[in-house]
Amino acid sequence: MNWIDIGALDDIPLRGARVVKTQLGCVALFRTDTDRVFAVSDTCPHKGGPLSEGIVHGNKVTCPLHNWVFSLETGQAQGADSGSITTYPVQVAAGRILLDATTLKKRSAA
């Protein structure tokens, strides 16, 4: 693990998201109503919608293009839709958001 500081928790709106650009696309960082932070792929497997622009409810997000709903904890599509998004290790320490650079590099190598 190689934790790198991405920004402050408060940079993400409550029940909102921001993206981090990586070599092979965007990773979306979500902040839930209870201040939990999740890092997942920003791209909906259905038609490539930007998940970071979806409505965040509970620990889930709804894709803005066609309303697919994903669990931010497992990355699994909910309900009748099937598919999943990659989830990434993320932690919050002292109000800062940390992402694991090793995992993100693995992703670009893959």
């Binding site: 909102g16 981090v20 650009k21 990586t22 919608g49 409505i55 709804t62 803005p64 709903v69």
Partner: protein, 812 residues
């Protein structure tokens, strides 16, 4: 055996209980001298709240009276403060001289914490700790019209506030965090508590930052940082307590945050013991009475040479305010490894939340119905495995192992005089007779008995009475709930938001029993709209409850880029505006520039991070957002009218511009498009718009409810008006009545089909007074929303950019 000389400093609840145990276990073994700085003996401090509220007298809360002290030969030295302890010579020092001891017990309790605000020493500023404070409050409350400010919305502060309110004072509670009693309650329970307190007339201000206490010789007002001024004659500070340890510290005993004791309540001196709020054991301080009583038991055994050890246990909290029923125990913070079971009964104002971890109950918060509190508390303390009863756990001990209750059988069992509709006082019997008299639907029941016609929360009950009475003849209405988060329909939710005055999303979720913590993508945008439409001043629009287009103020395209469309008032533009649009298209590499059907120009294919810059440039040229993405006013299409056209009868372009300037920025249940045509040839295609105005020689024909989308529909005539002013007024009134009543995502034509055009005409055309009231409410809302959303967002360009860019690092 010689009697041991026992000196006790402090006659509080802990030392009182200790002496009881001691005299029971070893009568006559101790010669006790009891000092107390307060000029009275032991009384039940927990019961000060009922004394304050007038529900009890001081006499009723005395725990040990003169006879008791005399019978146990306790030497009482009340009102005499201990100035020091000489441990070497084993004496305590006071104004009356020295008193020797064999064993010394320190039970000095705690002192209220006073925030050193400017003015905190003024007469009239008090804490809430003892009978003197209580009496001071009672005395002030006797003045008619007296006002109090309570600083601190914790247990003690709220008890003080409730007591003062019961004494007839005007009371404001200031609390510095987001919800009351945040250490004991979660936000939902805090909301219910606040609602109950407000219902008693207590004013609650959360997130309050007190700046100063002011007054000339006596407290006169409290000032908040935001400039709020709260006039008052009494300020009660109830922000917390600090262990009273000075005496122990001066005597050289080990003191951390409080006097350090071991499990036998012994301090660092083997002949000195301590108990109560002044001690620290294993890093823990104590403020509630249960552990104090445990300490008293342990210390009595220690003093009589029996073995026992004090341990820290889980604690439960209750608030002693009559009518505010709350309970909290254990750890109820949210966490990844924890699961919640939530039960809400909005009609009764009940909220219960259980927090589970690894099949064990670790926390519970309850409001409104706390009858099962001690049972849950037992499960927490005993670390019981609850996996077998998890399904019915939240219903309490009565349901464990029993069958699932059938709600219909419960209704069937209700007696005829059981009240079903609280608003209108309608009992089950009246509804049953109405049904037998032929009222076979909910609408019939409402029409004949008024039951469920006011606030609507009993709708389900009325339907159950129908089902029970009619049996198989009853057909449950098929109206669809908003989404899976609730059983209420859009119409019910709108009605309840108004009648119950729900002004925040958490209020809606709680009061209407939402089954999810914070809704979903279906209900959140709808609730957000209903709240801002009904409470424009009180409710703050929530961008996170909006669809991406309304949050980013641009229209998302299938590739994730956006389209940007500036407003062109009534379809009129200028060479300067056109140049600015062309410049923006060049500067931001816009691939597609399109002229739209709404008489304006669309710039398609703009990257998200370029939006703020483009908006800034367009703003600089005097243009604002065209809201081409919103459930709100879109565009007002016009023809050239009398200015140029040989057939034009009125200034249709001018009216179009006036309408757009009047209506722009307003949010509506669905998009709203307008058009004004200068003559019946209708070049602006006004007959298929949500509001379409056709100019004729005699004035203006206002049509509503047209559409040219999935459905094609011609407008219906709302009215003919002679003047432009009236055309503007009728249009604003129509838009407002649509905003106030329609279901989210119903275009006007769909909504009119439900309520009927006559219903709209009666209110917008015939009833002039109502028309003006609608316009006034629209104008009020527009003071908030008739603003360009681009300008403030252009200033926050960084929030549109990625939080970080790791592509460079990854490439290395």
């Amino acid at each position: 055996m010689k009697m041991q000389k026992l000196v006790v400093i402090g006659a509080g609840m802990a030392s009182g209980r200790l002496l009881e145990h001691l005299f029971d276990a070893a009568p006559g073994a101790f010669d006790v001298t009891l000092f107390n700085a307060e000029p009275r003996g032991n009384y039940n401090r927990l019961m000060l709240s009922p004394v304050l509220s007038g529900e009890k007298s001081y006499g009723e809360i005395i725990t040990h009276d003169d006879d008791w002290y005399a019978g146990n030969t306790v030497t009482c030295r009340f009102g005499e403060k201990i100035d020091g302890i000489d441990r070497a010579r084993k004496v305590v020092l006071s104004a009356q001289g020295e008193t020797p001891y064999d064993k010394l017990i320190i039970a000095t309790g705690s002192n209220p914490f006073i925030i050193p605000l400017p003015g905190h020493t003024l007469p009239g500023v008090i804490s809430y700790r003892d009978l003197d404070d209580t009496n001071a409050m009672i005395e002030t409350s006797a003045t008619p019209g007296a006002r109090a400010v309570v600083i601190g919305g914790g247990l003690l502060g709220l008890e003080a506030a409730a007591g003062l309110r019961m004494r007839g004072m005007e009371v404001t509670v200031l609390h510095n965090t987001g919800h009351l009693m945040e250490r004991q309650l979660d936000a939902a329970a805090g909301y219910l508590l606040r609602r109950d307190l407000e219902a008693r007339g207590i004013n609650v201000i959360t997130q309050a930052q007190t700046q100063s206490i002011e007054g000339n010789g006596h407290v006169a007002r409290v000032m908040l940082v935001d400039g709020t001024e709260l006039p008052c004659e009494l300020v009660v500070m109830a922000v917390g307590i600090r262990p009273s340890v000075q005496l122990a510290k001066d005597a050289g005993l080990d003191v951390g945050r409080a006097i350090t004791v071991d499990a036998q309540m012994q301090t660092s001196d083997p002949d000195v013991y301590a108990l109560g709020e002044c001690v620290e054991f294993a890093g823990t301080l104590f403020g509630l009475v249960a552990p104090l009583y445990d300490q008293a038991k342990v210390l009595a055994k220690t003093l009589t040479d029996q073995e026992d050890a004090f341990t820290v246990k889980e604690l439960a909290t209750k608030l002693k305010v009559t009518g505010c029923d709350l309970f909290s125990a254990g750890d109820f913070a949210e966490g990844a490894d924890r699961e919640d079971i939530v039960f809400r009964d909005p009609g009764r104002g009940v909220y219960k939340r259980l927090v589970l971890k690894d099949d064990h109950l670790i926390g519970a918060v309850m409001y409104g119905d706390t009858a099962d509190g001690s049972w849950f508390f037992g499960l927490i303390k005993d670390a019981t495995d609850v996996s077998d009863m998890r399904d019915t756990l939240i219903f309490g001990p009565a349901y464990q192992g029993g069958a699932t209750a059938d709600p219909l059988s419960a209704v069937a069992a209700l007696p005829a005089d059981a009240e079903i509709c609280g608003c209108n006082g309608i009992c089950k019997g009246q509804i049953v007779s109405a049904i037998k008299g032929g009222a076979h639907t909910l609408g019939d029941i409402r029409a004949t008995t008024k039951a469920s016609g006011s606030c609507g929360t009993c709708t389900g009950l009325v339907e159950q009475v129908l089902a029970v009475t009619l049996g198989d003849d009853f057909v449950m209405p098929t109206s669809q709930p908003v989404c899976k988060c609730t059983e209420f329909t859009h119409e019910d939710v709108r009605l309840l938001i108004k009648t119950k005055e729900l002004k925040s999303q958490p209020a809606v979720w709680q009061e209407l029993g939402w089954t999810t913590p914070n809704g979903c993508h279906v209900c959140r945008p709808a609730i957000n709209f209903y709240l801002l439409a009904d409470w424009p001043l009180e409710y703050q629009d929530d961008p996170q409850s909006r669809f991406v287009n309304e949050r980013n103020h641009a229209n998302i395209q299938k590739d994730g880029t956006y389209s940007v469309m500036p407003r062109m008032w009534g379809g009129i533009t200028t060479p300067t505006e056109l140049r600015a649009i062309a410049d923006a298209a060049d500067k931001y590499n816009v691939p597609t520039v399109k002229v739209t059907g709404g008489q304006r120009i669309d710039l398609l294919g703009v990257k998200k991070e370029d939006l703020p810059g483009m908006w800034f440039d367009l703003n600089a040229a005097g243009m604002v957002s065209g809201h081409a993405y919103s459930k709100g006013l879109r565009t007002v299409k016009t023809c050239v009218g009398t200015d140029h056209c040989r057939f034009g009868t009125q200034d249709s372009t001018g009216l179009g511009i006036k309408l757009e300037k009047l209506l722009w920025g307003s949010w509506t249940p669905h998009k709203v498009k307008l058009a004004v045509s200068g003559c019946p040839r209708n070049c602006a295609e006004a007959t298929c718009k949500d509001v379409g105005i056709i100019c004729v020689d005699s004035g203006y024909q206002v049509g509503v409810g047209g559409a040219a989308g999935m459905d094609l529909k011609e407008t219906e005539r709302l009215c003919d008006v002679p003047t432009e002013e009236e055309a503007l007024e009728v249009t604003a009134a129509f838009v407002q009545i649509y905003r106030e009543n329609a279901k989210y995502l119903d275009r006007p034509y769909k909504w009119i089909a439900k309520v009927g055009l006559d219903w709209v005409k009666e209110r917008v055309v015939d009833d002039l007074e109502n028309r003006r009231a609608l316009v006034a409410r629209f104008d009020l809302s527009q003071t908030i929303y008739r603003k360009d959303p681009w300008a403030p967002l252009a200033a926050k360009a960084d929030t549109f950019a990625p939080l970080a860019d790791l592509t460079l690092e990854a490439a290395e």
